[in-house]
Amino acid sequence: MVIQKEKKSCGQVVEEWKEFVWNPRTHQFMGRTGTSWAFILLFYLVFYGFLTAMFTLTMWVMLQTVSDHTPKYQDRLAIPGLMIRPKTENLDVIVNVSDTESWYQHVQKLNKFLEPYNDSIQAQKNDVCRPGRYYEQPDNGVLNYPKRACQFNRTQLGNCSGIGDPTHYGYSTGQPCVFIKMNRVINFYAGANQSMNVTCAGKRDEDAENLGNFVMFPANGNIDLMYFPYYGKKFHVNYTQPLVAVKFLNVTPNVEVNVECRINAANIATDDERDKFAGRVAFKLRINKT
């Protein structure tokens, strides 16, 4: 019939809350007495302590299954990706020639990035290897540690090395250098014993037109086999990643140009539908000139 809802007045509600927080008759705080609180806190202390210990133990056991040097599985890294330097937001390389600040941050990043490639450092830390073949350093039963790395000298980057370069890798003149690098993958024999190189092109026809000429360092965008295989951060302490520099000589100014660079290697597919960076890299280049 009539739904008789017991309406409580505001005062009653407050009163009930007060009593819930501290009940002077039963000495209950939030519905529990002191001992009850002590019990419950002790219980959770013990219980959560135990859970933490259990989790730590299982995690420890799990970590025993992975090695320090090489990951257990590499199935996701069958095709190494390519990436550019300078690393910019959304891979947009925008150069306002007249606005120094717009490109100077790129230059700074590149300076920092290329520092380990300085010939002096390379000569000090790394070996001169025989080009055209893999630089294998097998363990042969005994841990061969640390592994040596091959030299990649900054001077190999020619006009893009930035050494004594008043144009700041060409950024101040609107002829920027973009560096291409291939992702490190442990024990990956890139190129399958055949030479490989990086090529760049405009993504579409109009991009190709706007892109104009470019030069690559090392010549043809070659990447030598001696930089492979990579043995991992722990083993291959001073590993120097090979680079390919591309200097865009006469990009049509004030136009966005979509550039795509890919690696031509026997064992690197560059047509993965889903992974747009597998064996290739796409970036936007825009030179703004007034």
Binding site: M1, V2, I3, S36, F39, I40, F43, Y44, F47, Y48, L51, M54, F55, T58, M59, M62, L63, T65, V66, H69, T70, P71, K72, Y73, Q74, R76, L77, P80, G81, L82, M83, K87, T88, E89, N90, L91, K181, N183, R184, V185, I186, Y230, G232, K233, K234, H236, Y239, D272, R274, D275, K276, F277, A278, V281
Partner: protein
Amino acid sequence: MHQKTPEIYSVELSGTKDIVKTDKGDGKEKYRGLKNNCLELKKKNHKEEFQKELHLDDHKLSNRELEEKYGTDIIMGLSSTRAAELLARDGPNSLTPPKQTPEIVKFLKQMVGGFSILLWVGAFLCWIAYGIQYSSDKSASLNNVYLGCVLGLVVILTGIFAYYQEAKSTNIMSSFNKMIPQQALVIRDSEKKTIPSEQLVVGDIVEVKGGDQIPADIRVLSSQGCRVDNSSLTGESEPQPRSSEFTHENPLETKNICFYSTTCLEVSTSPVGTVTGMVINTGDRTIIGHIASLASGVGNEKTPIAIEIEHFVHIVAGVAVSIGILFFIIAVSLKYRVLDSIIFLIGIIVANVPEGLLATVTVTLSLTAKRMAKKNCLVKNLEAVETLGSTSIICSDKTGTLTQNRMTVAHLWFDNQIFVADTSEDHSNQVFDQSSRTWASLSKIITLCNRVEFKPGQENVPIMKKAVIGDASETALLKFSEVILGDVMEIRKRNRKVAEIPFNSTNKFQLSIHETDDPHDKRLLMVMKGAPERILEKCSTIMINGEEHPLDKSTAKTFHTAYMELGGLGERVLGFCHLYLPADEFPETYSFDIDAMNFPTSSLCFVGLLSMLDPPRSTVPDAVTKCRSAGIKVIMVTGDHPITAKAIAKSVGIISANSETVEDIAHRLNIAVEQVNKQDAKAAVVTGMELKDMSSEQLDEILANYQEIVFARTSPQQKLIIVEGCQRQDAVVAVTGDGVNDSPALKKADIGIAMGIAGSDAAKNAADMVLLDDNFASIITGVEEGRLIFDNLKKTIAYTLTKNIAELCPFLIYIIVGLPLPIGTITILFIDLGTDIIPSIALAYEKAESDIMNRKPRHKKKDRLVNQPLAVYSYLHIGLMQALGAFLVYFTVYAQEGFLPCTLMNLRVEWEKDYVNDLEDSYGQEWTKYQREYLEWTGYTAFFVGILVQQIADLIIRKTRRNSIFQQGLFRNKVIWVGIASQIIIGLILSYGLGSVTALSFTMLRAQYWFVAVPHAILIWVYDEVRKLFIRLYPGSWWDKNMYY
């Protein structure tokens, strides 16, 4: 004449005041209560219906006045055109079915009820998030739009599903509503026509035969020996005589009105064999229609389980919203973008809401409903399945519910001894001494002095089920003798009837004269039965052990003692006597004149007494005992007389053998009723008249103080008041009934239970449950199933809630520690609506842990479905363990692919940047965005599998709450294993079958990752076994209080 009291609605209005003056017998009292109660009702809700008035004075009018009033002619009937006009004006002669909620409203309710609102909020947040993204970046991914759509779809699908389940259970019921169209014999255009009774209009002249239902409220114009069964209207099991005389001011008491839907039991075959009457009210304007509208005026209250589910939804929604808002604030203060914070919020909501649970509950309830339907309890409203389980008071109607609703011979008295007859449904076991020669004489009288016969063509029907046309007591006698003596018709044939005087109310006896079946005995036998005192007056001798003894004072005294005793049992007593007429005086050729009575009707030989009652159903006493042990109070509420009611209450155990009422004590101690200490009485019999004068406080006091209560002579409104009184005691009230007079109470009750066979349609419409076999004992089944489903729903909810923490933690860790997201929103939906559904339904098949019929019904305000220990144990104990286990799988996958846990910390920002395609892992390898994304999905799958594996353990531990799994039996509930198999199969299909569908973000997981969480799963099992062990070892301890849910 008619007194106008416009402020009152009540069916007996006309002449209420006159009744008060003229009433003598207690039989008339029941209607007086109506007036006050109606006023009370009216005060409570000003419903229009209650202010309607019933003008009924047709019983006082003469035939001529009636013809004038209704523009009809008693001989010619109405003209067809006039009838058509009236039909158009008044509508068909049928009860308007109770207003149904429009289907679309029901559907929309499903769309916005429960968690739906929360999910809609989630969906809208998704679209808002996309809007923000789109406004800053036109190429924003549509992922959020899809997620929003998926959430919307989830709401709509679960809504449709719940709606479908509801609709399905309602459909079972609609078959009931289709009544066989009734026909009525009507005189129109001076022709007799048979028309569907819906087309009757006021003023129609109808003819009703014995056995027919009265097609409308009719004023009797002519009839002979007509009796009607008013039990569905008033609860009186005795047939009521009807004639054309105006006998009472009250239209309900007067003899010349028959009521719609009551049954005409018999009509004397001479001269015409029909009752002729004029229709004075049709459809909703009939008395029945008024009571039915009273029922529809009673609002439906929420079922206890609906309240519990609402409570549970509030808890979960509260947790979801507060954690969501808390982490929204944390995220914003951690300098996350608002967009990201909104996405976190969506994740938290989705993780917190058990999307599949409400659908699961619906399925569980409908499974139980099906199971109960098999046991003859048909549930109309799914939620009512549980209500019976929490019932603490059953208010039961007497006639037809506790009793068989047919007169049956209960006791015999002959040879100065009372014998008990078997009153069970089939009479199979008559154990009284049948060797006495007195019995031979008595049985002959019973057989011969009886005018009713079985309807032809029932050779294969068991005797007790054979249909008989005629008076209820005669029927009882016929069946009684048929069972003991065999073919009664054959016996009657052998003892040819020579003459007879049928029963009439002035003589109060019935007499017939027969030839004997002994060919050598030429004497005629006169047999007579009737009111015992009348019969005794006519006797001079009494038969004892076959010998005739003179009837002296002492034998007369034993007769009176026996008569009083049987009468005190609420039984209708008949006396039997006979006389062998001397052959010389009355030869076979003697012509008996029944009007002149040219034969002796005194100095007969008294043979014995026979008493009849409407006996309790044989299953009822046992069921009442079971209710008692289950802590359920059974109260009888009947319209019948207090003596009969009390007798039946005693025989079925509603008043137990050793408890007394105040009156009993007064009688035993021979003191005045006022002097009795009320504390001494356990039982109480309260009449409608007493009830009428009671305040609600006094009623509360009676309901609270007496264990065993019988309410007699109650009106429909008073039944309502009693139910309300019980509900004021915080009791969950079940009402059982079959009559129209029960329907308001059935509606008002938390659960109304109607009888399927004997029940009137009004009762079935108002009820939530229908007992198909009319067996009160089926209620016990209902209680058991209801309690079981409540326990099992607890298990289901505990099972479902557990994984919410495992789903929620990833988002919290993701926000605070900056790990790559461990589990995606879509993946969560796959758990909630995929792998977890069948297992949580499987818990509904779990057997009870202990004897659930030996414990008290749950207190509806204290024993909640989801209580604090349940939430705490599910969330903070098992849920947390599960989260840890799932994280273990997640970390394992990442570590073995190259990202060690320490590297993962705070990696989130770089990890999610689209343009970072050379992210370094722990080994110095570099990953493109897509490679990382795939790994992230593998992480989702791993986390999913981690939860799945531990949910198997969770499912197993939820089988019991107190007992060890091994006590319960690991394999007894096979459905659980079907659930586990389904879980694993769905998991395998998602990972290996659909692993390539990017939108679902599942990947093919290495086989060994399925086993990483197994130690945690085992830990869960062991931990829960320890919990249960301590609960069993230390009942009532701190542990028990905090850990038993």
